[in-house]
Symmetry: C5
Subunit: 255 residues, 5 copies
């Protein structure tokens, strides 16, 4: 699970709630009609902008991003070295025994292809196409959250304008002006919170995670190509190490 | 028909109307003079920016985008495989019988060219030129909506400034200040609604749809080139499948 | 003349004047001192940004853009085909009789070069350099209007701040607050109108027109090269048609 | 001297002062404490952003830009043609007599290199490196003014917030509210003036001037290369003319 | 230590404190609850956007940037020339005596590689990979400060909205409105200060420093390659001088 996302959202909301409650009741900030207009309007504008399946897909991508545990690159390199050694000693078919051990579906697919007798270059090409498609899906997901982050404050302002116009039209009772204006400002508040605590930071996280996932998938694709091509495990390790930061480069071989 | 566009616009406006009516009369938000200045000013600025035919063309492109039903890529691949099989068995001329079956005018044109005896590469080149022109027209359409989405809020602000100046010049009757200011804010409200619920999301949708349409047209152009070149239907399917997402790759051949 | 520019500006200003007059006197919105500070400040900042000759050049480019009537690409292609036919039958020198017929100075220059016995490639190169220079001048013109469109609202805000500070310093007579604030807001109003109805849309139109002019000049340069090279008129037409949209491709030859 | 910069700044400030004085005393707009917070804060933020020497360097680049008189490209071409003629008749060493005549230090350096017996290509390479470094220094200067143009309005707003908070905390005497708020608005006014009349337009001018200076330096470098290579003066003129606009292309030879 | 960063921050804050204290008590501007909501919300949103290790890494990069003293390029070139002379006379192994003299860990690592008998090209490649990774880490650090600089003002506005809503809901006591609104504005003030005096300028400085560090590391990598390749020290100096500005090019050889 991506802890920092959860910690960040919880911390920001908790701080906001504490700040609100230290100054009065939390109920003053909960107005279902205002929430409806901001949330509904934002989703409406997003649906005009994107087709249904992209909008729902973005939510799925976000959920997967938060809960998916990426394998560390060093661990992947370790496994690939192990596969290379096994394949050189006992042949490619011997890799079948690892199929259950590997958790990542992309890695499993690559392994299955290898066991099925696919050629090195053909497998690499198909895996690369797949990576490209994953990357595109990630980017499109981030773009949708960015769009929502720009529509939400606009809807907040529209809601506030509605409240102001209604308040200004009926100023007979001066004592009602304050509360009416308070309610009018709530939509701006909601729009700003949705955009700056949820949508825009989530879009940023999706982009960051995409980079990591693409890296580890590229590592798997390149590594499995080396395994199928029967390359020397030591040289293969050196090649794969160029993908990771120097301080993460732990050799699997004793010098 | 592009459902999400219609659903999004209807939902956003319905929510807004419900929110307005829960707080007072809808009539407070309808002011023909204010609408005139925002809509008219936006169209005026857009005409200064773009020539007449581009502005009218953008509306046509939008209408076509909403009502046009794009054929799914899998269905197009299915048809192309069918054509390839027929052409290999009975010759290119046998494709004439499909001319009525195909609905998409671009596909029809490609088929007609094939039946007319055009060569594979020459046909591909002409179809590619056509695709390029369609793409440019789409992009220009989206750009016009983006321009309108930036002029509308500006016109809204100009209208509000007019209202404020008039109100401030005649503040003898304090009870008239509220309603006058309410009316002045209406133009800002209109400008914001036009930009954020209509123009900007529509521009986004045009860009998204353009991508899909270009993809399916490219699929047709590449597929018809394969048909004319007499390529093996199975290899041709593999080639065309690289254009679509993995989960949409259903083979037309039994393994 | 570029009708849409004139129609757009007239329509936007007419609407604004009607809206103003329906709510009070137009004179409330005319304040020479406020106009002076916004217009003068905008021109001042633009002169700091650009040298004199660029600023005056931008005005000339705009005037020419509005009044210049671009020849339709089809008509240019028609003429070029005619020249090619004549040149093949009677020799390049026979083109001299067309020198008076051609109105566009760029086309005249190209024709003169041809008649003077310039070689095809050398003429093409010199015309291309000239096109490049025209394009650069257009772009620089559009950039100046964009700069003015960003300085005008800033000057408007500066003017409003001046008015507000003066008003706030002398609030002894409450009845004077309204009118003083109304006048202060006028500069913001002027800045917004100058930017959004004049400068920014004009910058957009200059960019659009530049594209068209460059296209027709490129058509002339390529066409004259074909004429000098003595290419087949039918093939030349096919080549030139790739520059225009499919629906504008009318052949000059009967099939 | 770059007249339009001086005229623009003087005109904008003069207009502003006239506008202020027509509405009251100029002294209302002079508040040393407010100036200190905006100017000091802007310089502070700029020093956090850039090292000392870059900030001071930017001021020097600006001063040089305003007072430096660029030689017209035509005059440079004329001189280069003259040098080429002399060098062909009397040898490269004869150019030594021109060393005092040439004012531009870059031109002098190029001439000195030629007289010192440097080879054509080696000299060109060293001059190009020098041009590259000049361009980088110019760009960095423009970037610093852009940064200052974004920090100044922010500091203005911070100053206004300070004034507002202080005013709101002590509203016991209603008659003091107006003047206190007037003073609070002054920082926003200063920030806006510094950004929009000074920093941003100056950054633009630096970019424009850099383009001109780079052009004339490139002209010198290419021209001196031709001189050293002993090229034909007429061909050399044609080559150098491609650097300047057509209407500035005056031949130094009688046809 | 990077003096201008420290001077800039201290100057900006000192000016602000002086300005505040000249108008009242500094305590009016210190509100722990408001600080908590702005700082906490900004960190929360940043954690949603970036993983934990990147956020902590950014702080470390900043601290290192402020306190790290970059060696001047001329000094580095001088040392490299010295190494080259020694290596040519006494062999590569003689460089071991310099290992303690060199302070920069990157330079030490390069020297160690040379002494260990690494080949010139292989060492260059590994050092380049390392430089690339350093650059990426720097850029990611700057991006995090830019993100914080955009979230801080948003959190400030959210805090002000909370304060306004609470104030408007309880306007029974008019005398409490001023102070309540003053407190509400404090979050906007904090957000603006954090963004414009800390986050954004620091992001700019990180980018500037990154450029310098990358330059000096590239100089070391290229220079050590020359040393290992046994190049002529004079030619090597000429090559390395192209990395620095002309006025910093002091030769280590007497002419």
């Amino acid at each position: 699970m991506d802890l920092s996302t959860v910690v960040g959202i919880v911390a920001a909301f908790a701080l906001m709630i504490v700040a609100i409650m230290s100054g009065g009741s939390l109920m003053l900030f909960i107005d279902p009609a205002s929430m409806m207009i901001v949330l509904g309007g934002t989703i409406g504008a997003t649906l005009v902008h994107y087709p249904f399946r992209s909008v729902f897909g973005a939510m799925a991508v976000f959920k997967k991003t938060v809960f998916h545990q990426e394998t560390a690159p060093q661990a992947i390199i370790g496994q690939l070295i192990q596969f290379a050694g096994k394949a050189r000693k006992e042949g490619i078919l011997a890799l079948e025994s690892f199929l259950d051990e590997v958790k990542d579906p992309f890695f499993q697919k690559a392994l299955q292809m290898a066991v099925d007798g696919q050629e090195a270059e053909a497998m690499k090409e198909m895996l690369d196409k797949e990576i490209e498609y994953i990357q595109e899906r990630h980017e499109s997901g981030a773009d949708i959250f960015i769009a929502m982050g720009s529509y939400a404050p606009a809807m907040g302002m529209i809601g506030t304008l509605i409240g102001l116009v209604q308040m200004l039209q009926s100023m007979s009772d001066p004592s009602s002006i304050g509360p009416a204006m308070a309610v009018a400002l709530l939509t701006t508040f909601y729009g700003s919170v949705i955009a700056n605590i949820l949508c825009l930071p989530i879009a940023g996280k999706l982009k960051n995670r995409s980079g990591e996932e693409i890296l580890s998938k590229t590592l798997i694709a390149e590594g499995m190509r080396c395994v199928l091509a029967g390359e020397n495990p030591r040289l293969m390790e050196q090649k794969l190490h160029t993908f990771v930061a120097p301080k993460l480069r732990e050799s699997n071989f004793k010098k």
